[in-house]
Chain length 604, copies 2
């Protein structure tokens, strides 16, 4: 029914024109690529997504992955996807040529994954986790482990997972209790339980390679005593055959969304025969995981942004086809003898669609920018420049993970509303996106955790240097917009928001300085929302400035209407979204402390 | 698993103490009742809900109502509920003694339905629609029709529905095309299609009485030509037997929530044998419907408020039992060797729970207040006083319908987040409430429609008299709070928001005056949110003032902690929610017009 799931023009505009992919290609790592070859790559991803991903989004929801007789049964397209994505090099795309990768920029990987996830937010997860766990092996494990596991993973024959969460620990990784007992061989004996393992099992996978956080006997308590192990479902023998490795699929989690993307409960070593191979050094597991975490968190934001995009496309299509009601006349009445108008002509429907547009395209711009920083950190040689982008990336990561997840859910919610009663009905896809996107604010560190990271770690890091760099980047965009003939008032508005940021931090910082961290961080969630709006305001101002420049110089890459629509969207963001910072600042600077626990029971 | 679904103390506190049910009982209609008997009635409803409603909420979601061979198959508890609710007098509770009703105040009916809907938001719908359609018959149909239909409906033997929506018309009722052809008998021949009919069919109902909006041949176009008909699924013959009346269940709508509450597509007269009996006068159908609409819209707000309550209870219970993480020390670090704390000790979890509390209890206060106005309008003799409360009720109705639906969904969303990953899992009830509540912003006029009603009709009605009366009520609460020793600063804050309201309307009104209604109403949705916060701020200030008075005079009806928690919640509302009006006003008074259609395509 729905025809489109992604606005490819806007994706390419952001990738090439706004965020300047070309500037990345000059780095040595990407010398084999040029814009044309990468553009062809993205077109092939789109064509692949049209064919192998989008047609399966609804059917996978209607036929959830489920536990049966010790295995998780997934849709057969999972098998097809893994093999074809492997063949096309999509799982290996980021990796070095020497391990069979395509060595593409992270920005292009982001665009590729975004197209796939907009088409189907469940299938690419299986490939994404396989890629992520292979990355951990490539970066930190020895050569034997690399040779044993990586080729089969990148080809899509074997799956991969990340096993962090345990029932008693949840987000609190310091409470992990999965055990690793040393042996006189090259492996440890693993025992423990892991929950919420995405892609943790499948009747099709010949093998699944679990990257497991565990505690070596005698290790220190807390996060400092955690090590990382490769624990395959089946252990490869020297001659290449496989032996069961005592990894049990205990159960799966049925969920309200992403039903085709299985979530499992795994048991390790119930029969005392589960072997795990240490990755890198002991007690460094969490450090390794977190070195990959920026990429993983960009990936979560990207997935949410992609769902918001698909929902926007679907509701826009509906609004452009559905006649209902009439436009108001200047008497305030409607004439029932007139033909009905399309609902896209009603201001409130336009408001909802524009809100979807600014959140969706803004989120995409955000994940592409973070991806660019990621590329710069990976590719730059100059240590000081590299350090700058590392701090910018650190600063932006919690926002990239959170804004598309939270605001994306708001966008999809508005998409449901555009369809009226049909939005709630299973025949229409909006209700699925509404359910699917809800998990993104929980994945890879909840919004609460990300907010503590932003205000508690990232703002103070390197004596505030990351924040300073971010504000300087924003000032550059303000300066550029100020030089335009139409945009100075928007530039001035954003400048006033930078001042407001300083004011808010000036109010909050003293609490941290005097050791009252609970008070300092109590409204971290609001600070996240506040900073997100400022960052999005910046990205929209930047996009509008560039669109205006293209209009002024008669650039024909895109139509005039296209450029004008980006400026219009910026204005919408400034009027309807950026204004929210006023109220958020008012709340954050309120003296009253209402959420820190006291002896009173405030919930009766 | 979850033990509680409703906070009965708060419900009774709001009903008896804050909104003074007793003051209503002095009216003639309620002379047979006293507080004690009504309290016993509510206790019996709670006991009934514990037994017959709450145990079925999850199983009805897991086994959706569905279409099979021309009938909709619903859960068997629907049959049990209808019969037992009929026996207990719950369907008839609002009706006169003479038709077998209990003649209870609407406020008590609201409390009763609220308890039931918090326990199970799907079963009571079948009874609620039966009651609503019986009300239409009692108020507007002739005696024969009354005798034929009403007793069987109030006993729960026959169901009832409201058939408004048609595929091509949606919210635009003026486009209804269902036809009624006169005959030389006492009935018309009905033909047409109706969609989104809640409770439209069931394998258990001996009969279902549809109240159908249709157009008599030759009637004027638009809303003025619509009449109301009784169209039973089976028509009763004189001797009491039933004959099929050519009402076909064409299909049902599968939905993402409220899966146990069927939504049907009905065909009337496909075999040219569908008879409908005119209710009241021709062409008055929409007027009759809308005379019942205030009650129906209070009912929608109440249902959403009840789901938000059930979700709050469930997430509060989880937060009180789940250990995870540790409290921050004053070095900003955590000590992993300490025991984990309960998640309710984390400020961000407390913030989410307090947000749920203020939305949930505030919504309940709102529906009870509107119910009180409804009682006053029904019971008062003095025409001028009656007129005052009629205007207040008209003013409040779109807000009562909308705030609990929209903010309630936000509350449930926070409830999901409190549970972390488990919130997304089907084993926990939060994800169901998240899906169930989503439809309330669509039912009985979407949020967009309600917002147009508020700003387009209610604010200007009687030359602004309704708004004036509302603001005067709010001022009374401000004056009362100003006299307290702790509350004047909150009173002052709300007073400043009344000034802001005048300012916003001062900005908007000129657009209406000069005939630019599209511009005037373009941000009606934001005005709805703005006014809702002011109304909720008022209700919280009022509750806090009364709680403070109880504390001051040592009232022992509830514990000190209970009263203090209400004052704390008011402070939370003022700090975290009421502040949003600042930004909303800023947006509404922005000169830029971005959502009214122009020739530019802003969606490319």
């Amino acid at each position: 029914m729905v025809k489109a799931y992604v606005d490819i023009d806007t994706l390419k505009y952001l990738l090439y024109d706004v965020h300047g992919l070309e500037s990345i290609l000059s780095y040595e790592r990407f010398q084999e690529h040029d814009l044309e070859s990468l553009n062809l790559f993205l077109d092939s991803v789109k064509e692949f997504s049209d064919r192998e991903l989008f047609p399966y989004i609804k059917v996978m929801d209607e036929n959830p992955a489920h536990y049966k007789d010790g295995t998780v049964m997934v849709h057969k397209q999972v098998d097809t996807y893994m093999k074809k994505a492997g063949e096309m090099g999509l799982i290996a795309a980021l990796f070095d040529f020497e391990v069979g990768g395509l060595q593409i920029p992270f920005m292009v990987h982001t665009a590729s994954a975004y197209i796939q996830e907009a088409a189907n937010n469940q299938l690419p997860g299986y490939g994404g986790l396989t890629q992520g766990s292979a990355e951990l092996i490539v970066h930190f494990a020895n050569e034997i482990l690399n040779k044993t596991y990586v080729p089969k993973m990148l080809s899509g024959e074997w799956g991969g997972t990340m096993c962090l969460t345990e029932p008693q620990a949840g987000s609190s990784l310091s409470d992990i209790t999965t055990k690793a007992a040393p042996t006189d061989q090259d492996y440890h004996m693993i025992s423990g339980q892991k929950i919420f393992i995405s892609g943790g099992d499948s009747q099709y996978a010949e093998n699944i390679v679990h990257l497991v956080l565990a505690r070596i006997e005698g290790a220190p308590s807390g996060t400092k005593g955690i090590s990382l192990f490769i624990v395959p479902k089946n252990r490869p023998n020297e001659e290449g055959s496989l032996t069961k490795n005592d990894v049990t699929t205990v159960a799966d989690f049925q969920k309200m969304g992403q039903k085709g993307y299985c979530t499992t409960h795994l048991g390790f070593g119930d029969g005392n025969d589960c072997r795990g191979w240490l990755v890198g050094e002991p007690h460094q597991g969490l450090k390794y995981m977190f070195l990959m975490m920026n990429g993983a968190r960009i990936g979560v934001g990207r997935g949410a942004a992609a769902i918001a995009m698909a929902a926007y496309m679907a509701s826009l299509e509906y609004a452009n086809e559905r006649p209902q009601g009439r436009k108001l006349t200047n008497t305030g009445k409607k004439n029932p003898d007139e033909d009905q108008c399309l609902i896209i002509e009603h201001p409130d429907v336009r408001r909802m669609l524009l809100l979807q547009k600014v959140i969706t395209e803004g989120s995409l711009s955000l994940v592409l920018l973070a991806s660019k920083y990621h590329d710069l950190v990976q590719s730059m040689v100059d240590e000081s420049e590299k350090g700058k982008y590392r701090l910018l990336l650190e600063m932006l990561t919690p926002i990239v993970k959170t804004y598309p997840s939270e605001a994306g859910a708001v966008a999809v919610n508005n998409g449901v509303q555009v369809l009226g009663g049909y939005g709630f009905c299973s025949d229409f896809i909006l209700q699925q996106y509404y359910r699917d996107i809800r998990v993104f604010a929980l994945y890879e560190g909840t919004t609460g955790i990300q907010s503590l990271d932003l205000l508690g770690r990232k703002v103070p890091m390197s004596n505030g240097k990351g924040l300073e760099l971010l504000l300087a980047e924003i000032m550059q965009a303000i300066t550029a917009a100020s030089a335009d003939d139409e945009l100075p008032s928007y530039a001035a508005k954003l400048r006033s928001k930078l001042k407001l940021t300083q004011k808010v931090l000036g109010f909050l910082m003293p609490f941290a300085k005097k050791g009252d961290y609970e008070r300092y961080l109590a409204d971290a969630n609001l600070f996240m929302e506040f900073m997100s709006h400022i960052v999005l305001g910046w990205l929209w101002l930047d996009m509008a400035t560039k669109a205006k420049a293209s209009l002024d110089k008669g650039d024909k890459t895109y139509s005039k209407e296209f450029y004008k629509s980006k400026i219009h969207a910026m204005k919408f963001y400034f009027k309807y979204e950026l204004t929210k910072t006023t109220a958020l600042a008012e709340t954050m600077m309120d003296e009253e402390v209402l959420t820190v626990k006291t002896d009173d029971d405030v919930f009766c």
